[in-house]
Amino acid sequence: MMKTWQAGKRLLPMTAALGLLLAGCGREDLSVLRPQGPVAESSYGLMKLSIAIMIVVLLIVFSIAAYVWIRFRRKKDQDEIPKQVEGSFKLEVLWTVIPLILVIVLAIPTVKVVFAAGNDHSDDKDAIKVKVTGHQYWWEFEYTDYGITTAQDLIIPTGKHIAFELSTKDVLHSFWVPSLAGKMDTNPDGTVNRFSFSAPNEGVYRGKCAELCGPSHGFMEFKVKSVSGEAFDNWVASMKAPESVMPEDPVLAEKFKSQCLSCHAIGSMPASPVAPSLTGIGSRESVAGILLNDDTREDGAPILENLKTWLHDPQSVKPGNKMPNPKDMGLSDEEIDGIAEYLAGYTLD
């Protein structure tokens, strides 16, 4: 018993050192190794423990191997037959028992965290409930308590539990925000998954689809935007505002209505099952999840440019997506640019 305790004590500083080392890896808004919320934190804790145990195991194996290879290398004049050892009951028991102990050391916290992660907050009155629906290749977020639906940008208030209900409209996807929580698959109706996470700090976190879902699987990204409670309430209020702003030019407005709104929804229109809602698209972090909106051009392009890129040829941005090419729907280049300008200006305050 004493031995295990000592081993555990020795692991502690190593775990701490590892934590520091691994924390240097990757972007804060993306890396598993730089968790930004309690759920990701608990996975990370297990990871650090398991990595520490595994490094100890590796060190033991490597050093015995190195010793054996150097010490027992056959010398030139060596010809006598080495003693044919059958085995050693004591040694074999030793290396059965030690791994068993290590497994137990890892298994206990694992089981604890498994059950803690099963706590899904779907009955929590205080939690924000979000229905996530995966589509080839975009994400739909429905806030059931507020009656609003958005796409690609998941806006959440800091510190609150977000209770997710995950499903898919087509093939399997997997909902993953590495710096906030592990992933969870979206299955078709009938096997709906629930889980929850929270983000204590404000920030924008990168989310990904982790289950192969077709050609543009790698491009099925989204953003989680964690904002203050007040900003969240404002956002909800502006999402709920009934009037939907239309393009100023009446001809363009007509085109937009007849061509775009046959699939997409804006403002108070009921959410469309086939295409992302466009409400407030001008305020989003990205176009199509992967064209990052960035006026400084450091990590993307201005939203107007991104919208034009997308609208002029959606297939070249996201191969295999379901949006028809606006040109094939009879829109001229000027009309496409006009709609892009209108959408870029369609922001929520």
Binding site: C25, G26, R27, S31, V32, A40, S42, S43, L46, M47, S50, I53, L58, V61, I64, A65, W69, F72, R73, R74, P82, V85, E86, G87, S88, L91, E92, T96, P99, L102, V103, L106, A107, T110, V111, V113, V114, F115, A117, G118, L166, D170, L172, G182, K183, M184, D185, N187, P188, G190, T191, R206, A210, E211, L212, G214, H217, G218, L292, P319
Partner: protein
Amino acid sequence: MDWITTVDHKKIAILYLWAGGLFFGIGGIEAILIRIQLIKPMNTFLDAQTFNELITMHGTTMIFLGVMPVIFALMNAVIPLQIGARDVAFPFLNSLGFWTFLFGGLLLNLSWVMGGAPDAGWTAYTPLSGKGYSPSHGVDFYTIGLQIAGLGTLIGGINFLATIITMRAPGMSFMRMPMFAWATFITSAIILFAFPAVTVGLVLLTFDRILDANFFNVDGGGNPVLWQHIFWIFGHPEVYILILPAFGIISEVIPTFSRKRLFGYSSMVFATILIAFLGFMVWAHHMFTTGLGPVANALFSVSTMLIAVPTGIKIFNWLFTMWGGQVRFTTPNLFAAGFIPTFTMGGVTGVMLASAPADFQFHDTYFVVAHFHYVIVGGLVLGLFAGLHYWWPKMFGRMLSESLGKWTFWTFIIGFHLTFFVQHFLGLMGMQRRVFTYLPNQQFDTLNLVSTVGAFLMGVGMIIFLVNVFLTSRRPADAPEDPWEDGRTLEWTIPSPPPEYNFKQTPLVRGLDAFWKEKMAGHKAMTPAEPIGPIHMPSATILPFLMSVGIFIAGLGFMFSRDEFSSSMMSFLFNNYIVTALGLLITFGSMLMRSLFDDHGWHIEPEELEGGEQR
């Protein structure tokens, strides 16, 4: 012609080796293409669809058509020799197993030229692999090709079970069997229990796709998660079908080149059986994020971690086999030495993956890609290289070049670690697997570049190996019976390559490492267990080949039975199942021939045997 009709296990081993090598090469080229595409962010070398076809075919080809046949090649070449048998239990079936594997593999790879390769991942998760989301024939090639190839594996597995149970030389009790024979025995048992699961799964998926059934279709009351269970109930044991033979090889190579018997033989046997047993209990650890709930996740977490215990026993037993020995670093032993730390690294990441809440992060990322390549390439492929270099003289009568072998080892293993070690970090930094490209500025760029450079280095290692094989094949076949001088088991008691009948007289086994025991007693050869007499040999036959051709044609016919063809002749032939029927007719006709015409084989008379000895 001789090669098409042969039923000799040694020739079938060579057939398996060439066919496996061919598919391994195809899978390797696919891997290189994948790595070129990922060398930099937003690369346009390949398009998304082609990339998905390549990853699907790379995984499928490597698992089913690349490494499995090479394993079967070594088993076929060595097992009858190691247990002192003259052939496998059912030579005819052995040949049938090879030909169904080959034609299944050919069918699968035909997809490249016949309208699109499968693109739903090697796991073919529904509904992506269903007709609705994968309308080309790609996945049909997958289901039907693997079905035919799987038939061969199952036949092979049953054959080895029967061989090892019934054909051991007198005196060779189970606990005196070489470790590679044990590994083959257990592997075959896993095949026997695991392959029916994938057979059923593939049939259901074929029905869904071709006959509009609803097993996995939600609208028709099916359940896509069912596919995942069926697939992994096969798929997890498959991992052990791959790795246990490598364990067996390492357990042969290390004692030979340490001049010591295997440390803790009985615990090795016990560990092998335990690994096989636990391997069947842990399939759902591939599905932690599917939403099975905390109870299932906890159970599968703990049972998965337990596999570390018997695996750990093996690692330490190998290390202590060398302890106190005289270790010689020949090429086979170099690969065995590389295997131990590399495989251990794959093993420990496996334990990390077993922790479900941590796996929520690891799953479907490059961390997993790194893990299973450490196990399959760092474990199995290094093991196979060790085995190939070790038994090459026995199979072909020629020693591979030691210096080229060492070059192969160093380029391959350095390239391997460069490729896959950094992928652990890519996964942890948020890169999901199976992405055809990635956005810049995510700190993925450098590590992906390193990984691609490593992949090229592995390719160089493979080319050096091929050069070695080519140069060796041009040298005279002059390998002695016991080319490594410290051979411990029965295969080293007979000429290299062995005569058709293997053993002129079945040897009498007096203990573990039978040959070593005789050497230590001062004998030069085994004591025979029987007088010299006529040896019964099975006749060569083309029927297995024809049967496989028939299944191949039937598969193609079934697959295209609902297509519309521009030529009315083709439509007539396919849509009326005429092609299918023709294929089945060939197969069943050959079976009928086999049943109706008794072939008693032939005998090699003692006089010929004496002549053979002076060769």
